[in-house]
Symmetry: C2
Subunit: 337 residues, 2 copies
């Protein structure tokens, strides 16, 4: 297998990206091709020990930044590391593309360069959702599709379920539909119709899930439109950040508190680590004809390593092909409507 890594995407590119690649390489046999500014990437590679037959560099003269408009960037920056990397997947030069760069551009690149899997109306970005003290859930859609039709939510549930089963090794993962009440009659017209479709499916659909139950891990696959998904992910991030800021200010306020915090220091590290869910890998773009995974923009070497390693079953277990095969089931449900 060949893994194509965007050497230029994210806040810590290329140094953490390159370091992460060398860490991953030491734990697996697969090849890694890092795409990006040759000089910069080679300079970073020179800092690490690695097998030169396992990690190679492919030059890319341009970069898509987070300020770039996604569609325009993909159309015009043809020499960017991201566009070159996705084209390598299309041309069979690689099996998995990983980037910490512009999410919108990555989605647009998947759509325009690889194309949708036939029968999937809307590809989605799926994001790991941290469940404290427990395993992570998968949230689909994480922001790619602000407006959805009912069938899109069925697609999200189907694709997310396949990913959880094949990549994160969950048997028959529970699928929940984000709604404003547990009752079937709650929610918008779209959500109510999606409920009916999901109920007809072979998925392990557990019905509506209220937002308060999401952090408790009630559903392993959390289905919602991209607007709601984005709100869920960003609110979680913002609220956790705010709570930790408050803890820090309270726990350093006065000598007694400082001693208490010192005694709890290992526990506080453990708590912080609960929010590090990089062990579960990155955010896959589901529904395009190839394996693309988004890493968080602030990914460090450890996250990069984990995303690469977790990408292996994504390819080896043929997730893209299995999603392709699932289209028939989705179409059967739609016809029975």
């Amino acid at each position: 297998m060949k893994i194509i890594l965007d050497g230029m995407g994210g806040d810590n590119a290329p140094f953490e990206i390159v370091k992460g690649a060398t860490l991953a390489a030491s734990e697996m046999k697969h090849k890694i091709i890092i795409v990006g500014d040759e000089n910069k990437i080679n300079a970073e590679l020179a800092k690490h020990k690695y097998d030169k037959g396992q990690i190679t560099v492919r030059h890319a003269a341009d970069i898509i930044t987070n300020d770039d408009a996604p569609v325009r960037a993909v159309r015009t920056k043809t020499e960017s590391s991201m566009v070159i990397g996705i084209n390598m997947i299309k041309n069979g030069e690689g099996d998995l593309f990983i980037s910490a760069g512009n999410s919108g551009a990555l989605m647009a690149g998947g759509l325009f360069i690889l194309g949708r899997i036939q029968g999937i109306d809307r590809p989605a970005m799926a994001s790991i959702y941290p469940i404290l003290g427990d395993k992570a859930s998968l949230l689909v859609d994480a922001g790619a599709n602000a407006e959805c039709k009912p069938v899109n939510l069925l697609e999200f549930g189907t694709m997310g379920s396949i990913y959880m089963e094949k990549v994160l090794d969950r048997k028959s993962p529970t699928v929940g539909l984000v709604n404003i009440g547990a009752e079937e009659t709650k929610g918008t017209t779209v959500v109510k119709a999606a409920f009916e479709l999901l109920e007809k499916s072979d998925l392990n659909f557990i019905g509506n899930v209220e937002a308060r139950d999401i952090p408790k891990g009630r559903a392993e696959v959390i289905v919602c439109d991209g607007f709601v998904g984005n709100v869920i992910l960003k609110l979680t991030e913002g609220l956790a950040w705010n709570i930790f800021k408050l803890l820090k200010s309270k726990f350093t306020d006065g000598a007694k508190a400082k001693i208490g915090a010192l005694l709890l220091s290992d526990k506080l590290v453990e708590i912080k680590n609960e929010f590090d869910y990089s062990e579960y890998g990155g955010a896959p773009i589901l529904g395009v004809k190839g394996a693309i995974v988004k890493m968080h923009g602030s990914s460090n070497a450890k996250s990069v390593k984990n995303t690469i390693l977790k990408g292996i079953p994504y390819v080896e277990n043929n997730v893209v092909q299995i999603i392709q095969n699932s289209v028939v089931e989705i179409e059967e449900i739609l016809i029975s409507e």
Copy 2:
């Protein structure tokens, strides 16, 4: 002023409700009429010292529970404490109705018994959103309107802004539109159109607010549809609950941790208190022809007291009338479209 209190709504009725009423009465001159099962309420009242001229009881034979379907309950349970209480507002027997009961029924009661303010298309439930280490924001809509038109979001911003100014004493409160990016071009068709309307208004509109900035207090009035609002409120509740559960388990794990937690016990209480935002009062139903306030179902006596006291400026500062007057401005913006 006469405050009508639903004696039977919520998890702790009637004991915490009645106790809260006596606490509030001792801090103000206004009259309170508690509506509900006469025997039960009088039995609770007998446990407290209070001015019998200030607190009186109005019998109601029935109760609307949280399991009741809202519209049906309001239509059929005419002898319930909630329906009798709202009718008392309609008939001028009281100025403010407060209940910890079924939110949907309270909204339905406001709509069917009091009616919409003419020109307001969709009344909303506004909920206080806790900002840690700072003042609270107001979130409109908190769940009453799952599907909205752009004008509804303009109404929510306008009514929320008036409430914040007149009841919580914020001068020219900032109004933010929940969206999946800061740029004007982001979001759904409805949100994009709402952005344009809000920008034309006289509100202190600060543009789109991403969910990660909500807990940081970026906007004093947070505008969104009721689906997203419900997700924001319930996710906040669920995530905070989960983080505190994790803290508790970590801080009681081993002798060293327990001593540390003991030294931090006053700080931990302070942190917990940050989430008690009952000092800001309950959740007003904005846009109906009368003042109705929802309290959290689990309200204790202190919350009941605070909700009553914070209800005074809601009535004294003529918020309902000011919302009525604001309709002209909303209509001017719509005509200029």
